[in-house]
């Protein structure tokens, strides 16, 4: 398979209410605007009520399945620390993991499990941890963390800034656009070390 035929597989995961759907809409839209075929898939309804959520985004020259085949994910974007580990079946050892170290205690647990970061580092050769506490002051408010992570993700994808900007314009209500674009740009800076 030539590089031009490459299908990019991005898996976004987190907890219901963190904004996975919007973040994945942005990515898929940016891919479409960059001239790629794009598909995405997620789940609505009961599973969204505080449960584990995910969105598969795929883009390339021609995409068939709306879901990522196992062990094929290029970049795993996780908005919650331990959720990162729930989806490793979709990953291979070279999958890049972008992890927001947000900790949301599952209702089934008394305390948050320890050793998660170490385990992520063991499984993923390439992992990037983002502390929400250091990011929030720069982007006004928590609701835009999802968009900030899209900004970070943008560093690793063949999608131009114009496509992202246009995707933001199309996916976000006009009066929230400026703040989101700022969050996106702050996120993008995190990838430039």
């Amino acid at each position: 398979m030539g590089e031009t035929d490459k299908i990019w597989n991005i898996l976004m995961v987190g907890v219901g209410g963190q904004g996975i759907v919007l973040a994945s809409d942005l990515l898929a839209q940016a891919a479409l605007l960059s001239g790629f075929d794009a598909k995405k898939s997620e789940i609505h309804g009961m599973s969204q009520r505080g449960g584990s959520v995910f969105s598969h985004i795929r883009f390339g020259k021609k995409v068939y399945a709306p879901v990522i085949p196992e062990a094929s994910c290029d970049i795993l974007v996780s908005l919650e620390l331990l959720e990162t580990l729930r989806w490793t079946a979709y990953c291979h050892p070279q999958t890049k993991a972008i992890v927001l170290t947000e900790k949301i205690l599952p209702a089934s647990a008394k305390e948050y499990p320890s050793g998660i970061e170490t385990e992520i580092k063991r499984i993923f050769a390439d992992s990037l941890f983002i502390d929400p506490a250091s990011l929030i002051p720069k982007i006004k408010d928590k609701p835009y963390l999802n968009v900030a992570l899209c900004g970070l993700l943008a560093n690793f994808l063949p999608l131009g800034p114009e496509a992202w900007q246009k995707a933001l314009e199309e996916c976000i209500p006009p009066n929230y656009y400026e703040e989101n674009w700022r969050a996106f740009k702050e996120g993008r800076l995190l990838g430039c070390k």
């Binding site: 398979m1 299908i7 597989n9 907890v15 219901g16 809409d25 898929a28 839209q29 479409l32 075929d37 794009a38 598909k39 995405k40 898939s41 997620e42 789940i43 609505h44 309804g45 009961m46 599973s47 969204q48 009520r49 505080g50 449960g51 584990s52 995409v63 068939y64 399945a65 709306p66 879901v67 085949p69 196992e70 062990a71 094929s72 290029d74 331990l82 959720e83 580990l85 729930r86 490793t88 079946a89 990953c91 291979h92 050892p93 070279q94 999958t95 599952p106 209702a107 089934s108 647990a109 499990p113 050793g115 998660i116 385990e119 063991r122 499984i123 993923f124």
Partner: protein, 537 residues
């Protein structure tokens, strides 16, 4: 034609296709994964939409509109079609005037459902054509064509979706369109066709059989099925999202992709199958095609290799079929290994009642009182989860009230008031009220607890007959619980409306009602937190 490309979900594309077909009336009852179709359709100009009280009524409204000459769309989830099955079967006899399309969205793997029934059986049982698109663009086109097929063959048409189609997004061509100019509507009396007394229905049944035969003979010339012949030993018969999975892993496979999943064309299937040594039916849920193809006499494999339960994926199809192909399946991985699974035991994160949900109160109380709780379908079904674990049954929409009555009967006088029903406002309107009437009529004594959060929350905040609002935000009448209770024959003191934010009052009222040993209605009011937040925006 001028068009732009857009990423649309299957549901958005179905709404667009219906609009493009000139649909005038859209009805339905919310149900994951079908809900967004009507929500999108309601944003278009010149289309009447409604959330009906339930799927049966939604179907009847759409059928009436069709018989009076306009194109009508009705949407529901798979279990909703059970509710609408009665008008479905006989509408096939009456036929249509304006095109009538019924969208039914199945939920393999039960992401948000109580069972994973395969709606294709309804097409065969009701003798009605069924289409199944494989991506959003097909969803748009098939919906548009479904209206034409409906009018051409004088039959309602089912359009089947699944969760991955409805909630997946793919590219759709959005044309700069003009809606078609359709004949002037109006109801024309046609007793022989529309009044299904036995003498008329016998003739109509003949017509239904003739129509289905005529359609099956026409299939090779219709645009729904796709034959991709290849120099291969393997031929695959598939439909819907499974087609995408097959193409993902076996792009070289010969495929008969059925867009019209019922009826089937023996001629077309024979023409395809005769070319290939190894034939496989790749279909989620039941072996529907497999059964039919075996009845035609073809040697096909299907469910002996792949499961009847859950969703399929590219991975499972690759794993189970790879041995039958000479070339290796496509592997998109940059490396041939899977990441190691975590050695840590992760705490599960199942869905749960929202932390700020006012209806957590009642489940805490029910758990403490140790009552038998007949539950129902909605967010509040999550009362079964820890820390409450306060639910003993959940079967179908509106079922709690009937089940509580049966439990009471079986337990005898000792069991009086031990079983309570817990049901949400939208579900109560959908099909709980008939259960309440039955309880009053037959002198049962349960306490029926309605959890009123002012919206249909689980499916994403749709108004309902108790919330005083229509689908488009327009205000309307709201059912008065007290008058309703009185009308079915409850005593006034057995009808209580309490505030979920006052747990002591909820508890006191529940205890008092249980002590009366008479049929009671306890309405616990507390608006959904998510709904409230959305109102502020």
């Amino acid at each position: 034609m001028v068009f732009t490309t857009k990423l649309l979900s299957g549901n958005e594309a179905i709404a667009l296709g219906a609009y493009e077909a000139g649909v005038k009336v859209g009805t339905g009852y919310p149900g994951t994964p079908s809900t967004q179709i009507l929500e999108v359709l309601t944003t278009f100009q010149d289309v009447y939409t409604e959330w009906s009280v339930n799927e049966k009524v939604a179907f009847e409204v759409a059928l009436g509109a069709s018989l009076a000459g306009v194109r009508a769309l009705v949407t529901m989830k798979h279990v909703g079609l059970n509710v609408a099955a009665d008008p479905l079967f006989t509408s096939v006899y009456t036929g249509v005037k304006g095109g009538l399309v019924i969208v039914v969205a199945d939920d393999p793997d039960m992401h948000s459902s109580q069972n994973e029934q395969d709606s294709r059986h309804y097409a065969r049982a009701a003798k009605i054509p069924m289409l199944e698109p494989a991506d959003s663009e097909e969803a748009r086109l098939f919906t548009r064509l479904a209206f034409e097929l409906s009018e051409q063959y004088d039959t309602p048409v089912l359009l089947r979706s699944t969760t991955r189609l409805s909630h997946g997004k793919s590219i759709v061509k959005v044309e700069d369109l003009k809606r078609p100019i359709l004949p002037q509507p109006g109801f024309t009396r046609n007793i022989a066709k529309y009044v299904m007394v036995p003498s008329n229905a016998r003739k109509r049944h003949q017509a239904v059989e003739e129509r289905l035969l005529r359609l099956s003979l026409a299939i090779p010339s219709l645009p729904f099925n796709l034959i991709e012949k290849q120099p291969s030993q393997v031929g695959i018969i598939t439909s819907g999202v499974c087609y995408q999975y097959v193409k993902e892993v076996f792009p070289e496979a010969a495929v008969l992709k059925l867009g019209l999943v019922w009826p089937l064309s023996l001629e077309q299937i024979r023409d395809f199958c005769n070319h290939y040594e190894n034939l496989f039916c790749i279909e989620e849920l039941d072996g529907f095609f497999e059964t039919e193809l075996k009845a035609f006499g073809f040697k096909v494999k299907g469910k002996e290799l792949l499961p009847v339960t859950g969703e399929y994926s590219p991975s499972i199809i690759k794993e189970r079929l790879a041995g039958y192909f000479q070339t290796k399946p496509v592997d998109h991985r940059s490396r041939q290994t899977q990441a190691s699974l975590s050695e840590l035991k992760l705490p599960p994160r199942p869905p749960a009642l929202c932390p700020g949900c006012p209806h957590r109160t009642i489940f805490k109380i029910l758990a403490e009182l140790g009552l038998v709780v007949a539950g129902d379908i909605g967010c509040y079904t999550l009362g079964v989860m820890p820390p409450f674990s306060a639910m003993d049954t959940c079967v179908e929409m509106g079922g709690s009230i009937g089940l509580a009555q049966g439990i009471e009967l079986a337990e005898g006088p000792e069991g009086q008031s031990k079983a309570v029903a817990v049901i949400g406002d939208s579900t109560f309107a959908h099909s709980g009220i008939t259960g309440l009437i039955n309880a009053a009529y037959n002198k049962r004594t349960s306490v029926i607890i309605v959890l009123d959060n002012n919206t249909t929350a689980m499916t994403g905040m749709q108004p309902n007959p108790f919330s005083g609002q229509r689908i488009n935000g327009e205000s309307t009448t709201a059912i008065d619980y007290r008058l309703l209770g009185q009308a079915v024959g409850l005593q006034d003191e057995n009808i209580r409306l309490v505030d979920a934010a006052r747990p002591e009052e909820v508890l006191t009222n529940l205890k008092e009602l249980l002590a009366t040993k008479r049929l009671s209605l306890l309405v616990v009011k507390g608006p959904c937190m998510i709904w409230k937040r959305k109102q502020k925006k």
